[in-house]
C-alpha cells in the first residue's frame, strides 16, 4: 500500500477542490452563454452529460500537452518528439514540423525490439512481401496462414504450455476470452488493480465479480472462503466455477505478482487461475519467460496464461496459452482417452501416457477456437506483425545463432535495478519490486503532473505521467519504463535530469537528507 503523507494528501485534496470549484464556476457561465444562444439540438439529450466529461473539459485539457505527445520515429531508446503549440489555452494542440530528440523513458520497449533489428526487420519485410499487411479475414474463415499456425506453436513452447491461440489485439484477448469461459453463476475474483481490459471482459461475461485487495494473498483467501461458503447471491447455490485473475507485473505499480502464494491459495480452494503477463512476458525471467520463471512457479499450475506482444516483442496482438483441462465428460475426450488407453496398453510405455495428457490439454485452446468471438469474427494478426513476434522469440531464445537475446535480458535487469536503486537513493518515492522494468515515481499533487512532465521534456527526457482515469485521484505518478536498449550513459543522464526536476518540483518525499520539511513547504507553494 502507498502511504501518502498527511500534508501532501491535504494539499492534493485542496488542489483538486480548487480545480473543481473553478471548473464549476466556468461551467455555470458556459451554461448561461449556451442558453442565450439558439439551441439547435432541441429534444436531444446532450451526447456527453454534464459531469461525465467535466473532468476532461476542466481538468485534463489544462495539461493536455503532457499526454499523447506525437513522435515521428520508432519508439527506441531515443526518439523524436513532435513539438506542438496551442492558440486557445490548450484546448486544441497543433503539430509543428519541429522535433526534439528525447530520451525515451515512456515506451514499453523492454527488450529494444521497437526499432529496426538486424534479425527481425529483414524477415518482417520479406513476410510483408509474401503475405501483404493483412488477411482481411477472420481466423476461422480465410485468415489462418502457415505463419499463424507457426506463431501459435512458438508461443506455446515459449510460455511452456501445450497449446496457444493468438489474437490481433491484446485488449481484445482479455475482453473476448472471459465471456467465453465464464458466465452466469460463475465467480470472477479479480485483483483490485487489474487492467481495464480484464474489467471489461469480466463485465461482459455476465459473471459475478468480486475484488480482492491488490496483491494480498491472505485477503484473496478470505474472499474465496466467504464466497464458497455463501454461494451465489440470493439463491445461495454453489458457484459453478471460480476464476482468480491476476497480472504478472502491474503496469501502474511496477509490482510483481505474489504468484506462488496466490497459486497456493487457488489450489487449496479449487479456483482456476488466469495470469495476465502483458508486461512481464519477455521482460523478466532468466530466459524471458515471464514471472513464472522469475518466481519459480510451474506453468502447469496456471490454467490460463495470457500475454501481449505489444511490449517486449515490439509487435501487436495477444495470446492465450492453455493448461490441462480435465474435462472428462466430453465425448471427444472419452473417445481419445479410450484410444490412448488401448494404445498405452499396447505400447506399455510411459511416453504414450504423456501424449495423452497433451491431447487433453489442447482441448481448452480447441474450445476457444470453436467459439471465441475474437477468433471467429475479428481480423487475424497482421502477417508482418506475426513474423516480428516469431523472430523476436527466436532472438530471445538464441535460435538466431547469437547470444543477443540473453544479453538483452541481462541488460534490462541490470538497467532496471540500477535505475531503481539510484532513484531510491535520491529520495524519490518509487513503487514496485526489484527486477521489474516499470517504476512509478509518486507525484500526488495535480500541479506536479504537468510540472514534472514539461520540465523533463525541456531537458530532452520524455517521461509518462499518469493521472486520474488510470490511477486513483490522489495517487498521480510519473512512470519510467526501462529498456534494454538504454545505455548506461542514457540512464545517468536521465537520473541527473530527474533529480534536478525532482528538486524543482518537490517530489523527493523520502528523506534522503534532512531536507524534507523544506520540500514540503515548497510543494504547497507550488500549488
Amino acid at each position: 500500500m502507498i502511504a501518502i503523507p498527511y500534508l501532501t494528501a491535504l494539499t492534493t485534496y485542496f488542489s483538486y477542490g480548487l480545480l473543481f470549484a473553478f471548473g464549476q464556476f466556468r461551467d455555470f457561465f458556459r451554461k448561461l452563454i449556451d442558453w442565450s444562444k439558439a439551441n439547435t439540438l432541441q429534444g436531444y439529450a446532450p451526447i456527453c452529460l454534464g459531469l461525465e466529461d467535466f473532468y476532461i473539459r476542466r481538468l485534463y485539457l489544462r495539461i493536455q500537452d503532457c499526454f499523447g505527445r506525437p513522435i515521428s520515429s520508432a519508439p527506441d531508446a531515443w526518439f523524436d518528439v513532435v513539438e506542438r503549440y496551442s492558440n486557445d489555452n490548450n484546448k486544441t494542440l497543433k503539430r509543428t514540423t519541429k522535433v526534439s530528440r528525447c530520451l525515451n523513458l515512456g515506451s514499453y520497449n523492454y527488450l529494444g525490439f521497437a526499432a529496426a533489428d538486424e534479425y527481425c526487420t529483414p524477415r518482417v519485410i520479406e513476410t510483408l512481401k509474401k503475405y501483404s499487411p493483412s488477411t482481411c479475414s477472420s481466423r476461422v474463415d480465410g485468415g489462418t496462414t502457415v505463419l499463424h499456425n507457426e506463431l501459435e506453436k512458438y508461443v506455446a513452447s515459449f510460455v511452456r504450455k501445450p497449446a496457444a491461440i493468438v489474437f490481433g489485439m491484446g485488449y481484445v484477448t482479455n475482453s473476448a476470452i472471459l465471456p467465453v469461459l465464464m458466465g452466469k453463476g460463475c465467480l470472477i475474483i479479480s485483483d483490485s488493480l487489474n487492467h481495464n481490459s480484464i474489467v471489461n471482459g469480466a463485465r461482459g461475461s455476465g459473471a459475478t465479480i468480486r475484488v480482492f485487495q491488490h496483491n494480498i494473498p491472505s485477503h484473496l483467501e478470505e474472499v474465496l472462503r466467504e464466497q464458497i461458503a455463501d454461494g451465489q447471491p440470493r439463491t445461495h447455490r454453489p458457484w459453478k466455477k471460480i476464476i482468480v485473475i491476476v497480472e504478472g507485473i502491474y503496469s501502474m505499480e511496477g509490482e510483481l505478482c505474489k504468484l506462488p502464494e496466490i497459486i497456493a491459495v487457488c489450489k487449496k480452494y479449487k479456483a482456476y487461475t488466469y495470469l495476465d503477463e502483458a508486461h512481464s512476458i519477455g521482460a523478466v525471467g532468466k530466459t524471458g519467460r515471464g514471472v513464472c520463471e522469475l518466481l519459480g512457479v510451474d506453468t502447469a499450475d496456471i490454467d490460463i496464461m495470457m500475454g501481449t506482444f505489444t511490449k517486449s516483442f515490439g509487435s501487436c496482438g495477444g495470446y492465450i496459452a492453455g493448461s490441462e483441462v480435465n474435462n472428462l465428460n466430453s465425448p471427444l475426450i472419452i473417445r481419445k482417452i479410450s484410444y490412448w488407453k488401448t494404445y498405452a496398453l499396447k505400447a506399455q510405455s510411459q511416453r504414450s501416457k504423456g501424449r495423452c495428457d497433451i491431447h487433453l490439454a489442447i482441448d481448452l485452446i480447441k474450445y476457444l477456437k470453436y467459439t471465441c468471438p475474437a477468433h471467429l469474427y475479428a481480423t487475424s494478426v497482421s502477417p508482418p506483425a506475426a513474423q516480428q513476434i516469431i523472430s523476436s522469440i527466436r532472438v530471445i531464445l538464441g535460435e538466431d545463432g547469437s547470444n543477443r537475446g540473453a544479453q538483452k535480458l541481462a541488460k534490462i535487469r541490470e538497467n532496471s535495478n540500477f535505475f531503481r536503486s539510484e532513484l531510491q537513493k535520491m529520495g524519490f518515492e518509487v513503487l514496485g519490486d526489484n527486477d521489474s522494468p516499470v517504476m512509478p515515481i509518486m507525484l500526488y499533487n495535480p500541479a506536479k503532473i504537468p510540472a514534472f512532465s514539461r520540465e523533463c521534456l525541456k531537458h530532452n527526457v520524455a517521461v509518462v505521467t499518469v493521472a486520474f482515469p488510470a490511477t486513483p485521484l490522489l495517487l498521480a505518478r510519473a512512470r519510467i519504463c526501462i529498456s534494454a536498449s538504454h545505455s548506461r550513459e542514457d540512464l545517468v543522464k536521465a537520473l541527473q535530469v530527474i533529480s534536478k526536476v525532482g528538486d524543482l518540483v518537490g517530489i523527493k518525499y523520502f528523506p534522503a537528507e534532512p531536507l524534507k520539511q523544506h520540500q514540503d513547504g515548497k510543494a504547497v507553494k507550488f500549488d
Partner: protein, 482 residues
C-alpha cells in the same frame, strides 16, 4: 378469578384517582392547570427511556464456524473450465500465400472468396511500398498506448486523411477494428439510456450494447416498419424519454446477412423521433457510393446527419485497425473515455500508413469500384440459379450471402450441410468459400449461410468458376435433402 381481576382494577382506579386528587396534581404552572397529565407523561417518558435502553431484538446470529467453512470449501466441486465439446471443431484451411483473390491452399492455387479484400488491394505494389518504408522508419509495433508516446505522426495523418475523405470534422483511429464498436458504444451510452438496435448486428456491436448497460431494444432485421413501431413504442411509453440519450444502432452492410440498411428511411425516423444514429460502415466503406465513401454517399445522405460512424480498416482498406468519425465533440470525448482506445497500445504505424495509401489508391482509381460493381452483378446473376440455395444479400452488397432454401430446422444441421458444400467446392474445384460460423455467445438468430466476399481483383472467369462449382456441388449435396 374474575373477582380478583375486578379487585385489581378497582384498587388501580382508586390509586389513580387518589393520585389525581393529590394537591400537587392540581398545581398551576403559569396559570395553566396541569392536572394528572404530568404523572402519566412522566411515566410514559420513563417507559420510553427504559425501552430505548434495552437491546433491540435480533434473531440469534450464528456465523459459520471456521470448521464449517472448511467443510464447505472441501465439498465444493467446481465445474470444468470449459463445457464439453461434442464435435470436432471446424479447422479452417491454412493459407500458404497472401490472402488475395487467388491464394494457395495445400499447394494448390485456389480462388479466394473468404477475404474481405473488396478493392483487391492485398498485394498492391504501392501498398507494400508504403508499408515497407514505414517498417524501416518506425519498426513494427508502437510499444505504447496513444496517451503515452504511442501516438505516431502517421496516426494523426491517417485521422486527418479519413476525416477529409469523408468530409467530417474529425476522426479517431482504433488499434483494432473489432474493438471500435464495443468501445465507442459504452463511451456514449450509459445506464438508463436507450438503444434501439437491429437484431442482426454482429457480435462486436452486441458486446458494446451489453457493456453499455443501457436499455437495449432490438427491432426486426432491416425492417423499417418494425423500427418505426419500436421507436413509437419507446417515445410514447416513456415520459422521461427527453432526458435520456437515445440511439439507433445499425450496420450499413450486415455481416450476418449481406443486406444494406435503408439509410434515408432511418434518417427520416431518427429525425422524427429524435434519436441519434450509430452506423457501422465496416463492409460498406470503400465499397458503396460513387467514390467509395460508404452508405452515406450511396443513399445520398449528408454525413453530418449521422452522429457516430465506425468502420473496420481490415476490409476494403486491406490494413488493420478501425476508425470512428463524427463531430469534434464526439471524437474528443472518445480520446479519454473509450476503453479500447485509451487502454490499448496503438495501431502499428505501418498499418496506418497502409491505410492512408489505400485511400489514395481508391481516390486515384475509381475504376476499382466499377470493377467491383460489375463483378457483383455477374456473380449475382449466376448465383441466383443455384439449386437449394437462396441469396439473402442485397444486389450491391460486397458480401454475397447464400442461405438454404429449406432449412433443416436446426442451425447446427444447416451449418453441417453448408460446410459440406464449402468443403467439396474447395476440394473439387479449388474455390474457397466460407460458411458463417457463429459463436455460442452470438445472439444473432439470422439463418446461417455461405458467404462470398467479392473483390475487384476477381476475374470474370473466377466468378463463373465459383458459381458453376456451387451449382454443381449444392445440387449434389442438397439434391437428396430437398
Amino acid at each position: 378469578m374474575a373477582e380478583a381481576v375486578m379487585n385489581f382494577v378497582n384498587t388501580t382506579l382508586d390509586w389513580v384517582t387518589g393520585a389525581l386528587d393529590m394537591p400537587s396534581a392540581r398545581a398551576q404552572v403559569f396559570g395553566f392547570q396541569i392536572g394528572g397529565h404530568l404523572f402519566i407523561e412522566v411515566f410514559l417518558l420513563v417507559v420510553i427511556l427504559f425501552l430505548l435502553s434495552q437491546k433491540s431484538y435480533k434473531p440469534p446470529k450464528r456465523p459459520l464456524t471456521n470448521k464449517e467453512i472448511d467443510e464447505l470449501c472441501d465439498e465444493w466441486v467446481p465445474e470444468p473450465l470449459i463445457p464439453s465439446l461434442n464435435e470436432e471443431p471446424y479447422a479452417p484451411p491454412v493459407l500458404e500465400s497472401a490472402a488475395g483473390p487467388h491464394t494457395v491452399i495445400n499447394g494448390k492455387e485456389v480462388v479466394n472468396f473468404s477475404s474481405a479484400n473488396y478493392l483487391g488491394l492485398i498485394g498492391h505494389k504501392k501498398l507494400l511500398d508504403s508499408c515497407s518504408s514505414a517498417l524501416d522508419k518506425y519498426g513494427v509495433g508502437s510499444c505504447g498506448p496513444r496517451g503515452f508516446y504511442g501516438t505516431i505522426d502517421v496516426h494523426l495523418d491517417f485521422e486527418a486523411r479519413i476525416a477529409k475523405f469523408l468530409g467530417t470534422p474529425d476522426s479517431i483511429l482504433y488499434p483494432f477494428g473489432f474493438s471500435t464498436m464495443f468501445s465507442a458504444i459504452p463511451a456514449f451510452s450509459k445506464k438508463g439510456d436507450i438503444i434501439v438496435a437491429d437484431e442482426g448486428v454482429h457480435w462486436a456491436i452486441q458486446n458494446g450494447l451489453y457493456l453499455s448497460r443501457s436499455t437495449v431494444v432490438y427491432f426486426k432485421h432491416n425492417d423499417m416498419k418494425s423500427l418505426r413501431e419500436t421507436l413509437e413504442n419507446i417515445t410514447s411509453k416513456n415520459k422521461r424519454v427527453d432526458k435520456l440519450r437515445r440511439y439507433i444502432v445499425v450496420e450499413a452492410v450486415y455481416q450476418n446477412s449481406g443486406q444494406i440498411a435503408p439509410l434515408d428511411e432511418i434518417i427520416k425516423l431518427k429525425e422524427k423521433y429524435k434519436f441519434r444514429v450509430l452506423l457501422d460502415e465496416s463492409n460498406s466503406f470503400g465499397v458503396l457510393g460513387k467514390s467509395g465513401r460508404g452508405l452515406t454517399e450511396y443513399s445520398g445522405v449528408p454525413i453530418e446527419k449521422l452522429d457516430i460512424v465506425t468502420a473496420d480498416m481490415g476490409h476494403a482498406l486491406a490494413a488493420e485497425g478501425g476508425f470512428c468519425t463524427g463531430s469534434t465533440r464526439v471524437i474528443d470525448h472518445q480520446r479519454l473515455s473509450s476503453s479500447g482506445y485509451v487502454f490499448s497500445a496503438s495501431l502499428p504505424p505501418y498499418l496506418a500508413s497502409a491505410a492512408i495509401t489505400a485511400i489514395d489508391i481508391l481516390e486515384e482509381n475509381p475504376e476499382l469500384l466499377s470493377k467491383l460493381k460489375n463483378n457483383l452483378s455477374v456473380l449475382w446473376k449466376e448465383l441466383s440459379k443455384v439449386p437449394g440455395l437462396k441469396i439473402t444479400s442485397n444486389k450491391e452488397s460486397p458480401i454475397v450471402y447464400l442461405k438454404l432454401e429449406k432449412s433443416t430446422g436446426s442451425q447446427k444441421d444447416d451449418l453441417c450441410l453448408l460446410e459440406k458444400i464449402a468443403q467439396r467446392v474447395l476440394e473439387e474445384d479449388s474455390v474457397f468459400v466460407v460458411v458463417s460460423h457463429r459463436s455460442t455467445l452470438d445472439k444473432c438468430r439470422l439463418p446461417v449461410g455461405i458467404r462470398l466476399f467479392v473483390s475487384a481483383g476477381h476475374s470474370e472467369y473466377d466468378l463463373r468458376r465459383a458459381s458453376e462449382s456451387l451449382k454443381r456441388v449444392s445440387a449434389q449435396v442438397l439434391g437428396g435433402h430437398n
